[in-house]
Amino acid sequence: MWAHFSGVRRIAAVALASSRELLRERILYVLVGFALLLIGTALLLGELSVGQERRIVLDVGLGAIRVLGIAMAIVLGVRLLEREIERRAIYILLTKPVRRWEVLLGKLIGGALLLFASVAAMTGGLLLTLAAAGRPWREELPLLLPVVFLFWLQSLMAMAIALLFSTFSTSTLSTLSALGLVLIGHASREFLQWAEVVRSPLLALLCRAFYYALPNMQNLNFTAAAVHGREITLSIIGMASAYVVLYLVVVLILAAIAFHGREFR
């Protein structure tokens, strides 16, 4: 039996159970519902600004998907693990023949699937709003899909960071820390610019270290391109995806190290 059993199956089992659990979280529906409400509101705003309906709907709609997608990722990312630790349900899981890093990876995959479904639902809401505004939504698809795909990657980074913090911290601290890191990540380029202007080499090194350590959220935000009808090339999507995969690998390795050493008193 064991010869045919691989870690992939165990990771898939954890992923399935995690996405099932998260699917029953009320907060998920509250956030998706709120996002859809915001996207719907864009229709009203669009009507108020003659000739700008498309721009307003896309601006507000994509903004809602991005912000609420990240919020969802942080809240659910912390819940993936920390609640199980706080309620001591993790004791039973860790006595099963599953490695700790497999638990982390499985949980992240389960969360990623759910985030994907949520982003897809919110995108559906945006397309419906465009249709209601009388826009040819099919024509917008080639522009919108790459943008929301990159939003999903952004939220995955936020979820992985939340998961990392929850391997060694409480749920409140993990949420606040992940939120802080993601917010600073939206201004990570500033650190690179500071590195150019500061005189102290040590400070410059520190600024560069921050730039590489922080999640570069700006590189994954192409709202303006979509709004102005500029196409996002495959090479951009490929580069952005490669960056996210690399970042996820590093964060997961750190999380696995922290989780491996954690004692459950």
């Binding site: 199956r9 159970a17 039973i92 006595t95 599953v98 459950f264």
Partner: protein, 319 residues
């Protein structure tokens, strides 16, 4: 008869917890514990709350790391996946993912053990039946289940993969007398099936009934280890409580004169005899005097008395 192999071997196991801002204070939760659990026995780790029982179990499962000493399960390290595949664990309060149903949870754990879909389906149905969870309860989210039902699901997940070793942290905790009797029956049946059972409990009398061997733990130290009969021979009788009704005042006075403690409320009289011989004499006397005996219960079992004596001899008072 061939010698049974040791399933659990613990040598000089010590666990210190650090506390304070600079982690400069040390609290020793388990102190140089050495013991062996043989194949096919029910082994009880006994002691009051705070004795170090749960810490010992967490060390056995590598949920925490020892400060010093070693643990071997089936001759291997506890974190070895081959070990995990052969053990079932029930924590003190079985907290389970409450959004899942019992069936979903068991199916999930079955996947972690590599059971095929048909095996999972069969094993899940079997263990749910064994612990008395009907289908209507098995398909409800765990957050809707009562404490008793959750305890049963806890046992079901420990049994799911038919493990050779069961580690149960306070399996009688929070159960009513009927629940305890049922758990006792399960444990005896699982021993008959060849499973080795390591359990912890503060209920010495409960363990005395079912355990082949016990270890008495107090403040992290092993006070004694052996079979209940070796440690406290059944001849060492304990105090007895008699519940009676319709006792005349002079009968109560006579019982007090015989060395019994007598307390009465409006309907019941509670008589505590210092030893069982005096207890049975008191029962006869009550009956002869026209009183009605409702129940006779041992107040302290021989093992409980042994435990109290051992704690006193070690220079510490029972917690």
């Amino acid at each position: 008869m061939s010698a049974r192999s040791a399933i659990i071997v613990v040598e000089n196991l010590t666990k210190d917890y650090a506390s304070g801002w600079l982690a400069h204070r040390r609290h020793r939760a388990v102190d140089r514990l050495t013991l062996e659990v043989k194949e096919g026995e029910i082994f009880g780790l006994l002691g009051p709350n705070g004795a170090g029982k749960t810490t010992t179990i967490k060390l056995l499962l590598r949920l925490i790391r020892p400060t010093s000493g070693t643990v071997r399960l089936f001759g291997r390290l506890p974190e070895d996946r081959l070990v995990r595949a052969q053990l079932g664990f029930l924590p003190e309060h079985p907290y389970l993912p409450e959004a899942l149903t019992a069936r979903e949870l068991l199916d999930y754990f079955g996947r972690l053990f590599g059971l095929s879909r048909s095996d999972r389906s069969a094993r899940v149905a079997l263990v749910l039946h064994q612990v008395g969870i009907p289908a209507s309860v098995a398909d409800r989210p765990l957050r809707q289940l009562s404490r008793g039902e959750l305890a049963r699901v806890g046992f079901a997940q420990a049994l799911l993969h038919n493990p050779k070793l069961l580690i149960l942290d306070d399996p009688f905790g929070g159960l009513d007398p009927e629940g305890r009797r049922q758990v006792r029956d399960w444990l005896l049946r699982w021993r008959e099936e060849g499973k080795t059972i390591f359990l912890s409990t503060p209920l010495v009398a409960e363990a005395e009934i079912i355990c082949d061997r016990v270890a008495l733990l107090h403040r992290g130290r092993l006070l004694a280890c052996g079979s209940p009969a070796e440690l406290a021979p059944p001849t060492a009788q304990g105090a007895v409580e008699i519940l009676a009704r319709d006792l005349a005042p002079q009968t109560r006075e006579s019982l007090r004169a015989r060395g019994c403690d007598v307390r009465a409320d409006r309907t019941l009289v509670r008589i505590c005899a210092p030893a069982s011989a005096e207890g049975w004499e008191a029962v006869d006397f009550i009956r002869r005097s026209g009183g009605h005996v409702i129940a006779v219960n041992p107040l302290r079992s021989p093992l409980e008395r042994f435990f109290e004596d051992a704690v006193t001899a070690s220079g510490a008072s029972p917690a």
